[in-house]
Amino acid sequence: MDKDRNRVARSIDTAVLRDSQDEILKIEHVTMKFGGLIAVNDFSLSMKRGELVGLIGPNGAGKTTVFNVITGQYTPSDGRVLFDGDDITGLPPDIIVTRGIARTFQNVRLFNGLTVLDNVLVSYHSRIRSSFLEAVFRTKRHLEEEKAMRQNGIDLLRQVGLEHLANEEAGNLPYGQQRRLEIARALATSPKLLLLDEPAAGMNPEETRQLMKFIQDIRDKYALTILLIEHDMHVVMGICERIRVLDYGISIAEGSPVEIQHNQRVIQAYLGEEERAYA
């Protein structure tokens, strides 16, 4: 009985979500525990289509854990994640990415031994229709698919300005371009929602400036919704429309960049702690 009511409630919920087309991601009361450690506690967030939201907080606040829950690396201990109206909680990462959520990693995780072009092409593989036998016997369908894939890959690289490096081994790229390639690889999955985990980490000011422009460009060009983890306040305050602050797994504030800059709790938890650390 109770279960039924839950199901009904859930389906109404889902229907409502589908109607309000501008809500793309809705995280409801997600809690993630690792043994006794509560990495994320009762985290809720909803994002409108086309929004650029920043997720900030001191180290170990649980930001990346939130990403891992959204993309399916972790199944939350409690709560659920709705994407485009569908409950995607607990689906494996390779399925979630096909639904339209792509991510980058905090420490760049490229396929270092593969070429720049191949890195991007891997992302197209999940959409391939021909079987491995067709690949081995090089049927017309497979060759056409490969050709189309390659063309798309080169187009994408051109758009992100990496075309001239297409045949370079990814591991040999300078750091800034590796970051850029990682974003390109995520874009190749044609996401609706892009999760960027500290994209500016380790970049010099010039690279950071380029990155900010790049993020805004791709957001407009591909009509993306972006959730961004970043420590570089210059980036966060510069491009995010809304910022959520996490501390010890708990949301402590949310608001526009200006509001966050003047929020006492944030200054205490985040900036204040830094000051103390330097003192």
């Binding site: 990693f105 995780r109 031994g113 593989h125 491995f132 698919e145 690889r185």
Partner: protein
């Protein structure tokens, strides 16, 4: 360029076919035996490399899959009178005691050998490949031991430790070399396709590959199953080359040999495995010399069996120390590379003369570490 390479590949295959056709009745049996062995090693090593080198999953199981293939072919091809003679401890079970395939169905028996091995691969792969890490190495090693123990004890099927003797010698040069060519082409096409790219992505970074939509289990299983299929075929070829199969033929040493081949050739390189498989088969014969008894001055050294393996092991250690990528690294020998070779050699000597090359060992280690 592509057109030219295709023609060259075609020419190479025609050349191989012609030389096989010429060689099969003219060369002496000893040389033929070495060539056959080399071709069988190619089938086994190139397919093994698909799992260990291309997909980056450490399997220790090819000996088990070869055993499955070898026994399958033996059971299918052994003539009926021979079957009655061989199985004197316990009679052979039905249905194998009631039929034997004629020679023209040898190809079919090889395919069946491959399929039986693939079935084995699913038995190990389905539970293990879902896990990350080194479980596969342990599980495949265990599977290999299980297959050997089963082969030793399922006397009414395998004839136990005595093995099966008198298998017709069907593995002629056209068969072995034909299978080697098919294997190389099959795996090359697979590796160069989108599927191969997915496998390499898994090798480079599983987490990232999964996050980009690659189904890890399915692609590891694909590599594992294809690899097992050809391992099974190579086992079948081996059975009909040496005309006997016994559990001891497919002990872990077999896997060890193949491991040496793929590491020497460069993990992930098909051409590397092919070249080193040939080198290995030839060296195995040439190095018989070191196992022979000899007298150096006053010292008499009795023949030491197994000395060859020591030599191979030393080679492997030296390679790991000085040139960890193996002969070809992850790369492939290509026509473009071949044609560019004279230029590069000239350049090397040019630089050597100008003393720019300090030491070749250094560059070897550096190129790995980066």
């Amino acid at each position: 360029m592509k057109e030219r390479n295709f023609r060259l590949n075609l020419a190479l295959i025609v050349l191989i076919a012609l030389s096989v056709w010429w060689a099969k009745d003219r060369l002496n049996p000893y040389i033929l035996r070495v060539l056959n062995t080399a071709a069988i090693y190619i089938v086994a090593a190139v397919s093994y490399n698909l799992v260990n080198g291309v997909t980056g999953q450490f399997s220790l199981g090819p000996n088990a899959f070869m055993a499955l293939g070898g026994f399958t072919v033996a059971l299918l091809m052994l003539p009926l009178p021979q079957k009655e003679m061989v199985y004197f401890l316990q009679p052979l079970i039905w249905p194998f005691n009631s039929f034997s395939l004629p020679q023209w169905l040898f190809g079919l028996s090889l395919i069946l050998a491959g399929l039986v091995a693939t079935a084995g691969a699913f038995i190990v792969g389905v539970p293990c490949l879902r896990l990350r890490g080194d479980y596969l190495a342990i599980a495949t090693f265990g599977f290999g031991e299980i297959v050997i123990v089963l082969a030793n004890n399922a006397i009414s099927i395998t004839n136990g430790a005595l093995g099966i003797k008198g298998i017709p010698e069907y593995s002629t040069l056209p068969w072995t070399v034909g299978c080697a060519v098919i294997t190389v082409l099959f795996i090359r096409n697979l590796v160069n396709s989108s599927y191969g790219r997915a496998m390499k992505a898994i090798r480079e970074d599983e987490v990232a590959a999964e996050a980009m939509g690659i189904n890890l289990f399915r692609h590891k299983m694909l590599a594992f199953a294809v690899s097992a299929f050809f391992a099974g075929v190579s086992g079948g070829l081996l059975a009909t080359l040496i005309t006997t199969v016994s559990p001891s033929l497919f002990m872990f040493t077999m896997t060890f040999n193949l491991l040496i081949i793929i590491v020497l050739g460069g993990l992930g390189s098909i051409t590397g495995s092919t070249v080193t498989a040939i080198i290995f088969a030839v060296l195995q014969e040439l190095l018989r010399e070191v196992e022979a008894p000899r007298t150096i001055g006053p010292i008499h050294i009795p023949g030491i069996t197994g000395m060859r393996m020591i030599v191979f092991s030393i080679m492997l250690i030296l390679l790991m120390l000085f040139y960890r990528r193996g002969l070809f690294g992850k790369g492939e020998a290509s026509w473009d590379g071949l044609f560019a070779l004279p230029g590069r050699v000239r350049e090397f000597f040019e630089r050597l003369r100008r003393k720019e090359v300090k030491s070749w060992t250094r560059t070897g280690i550096e190129s790995h570490d980066q």
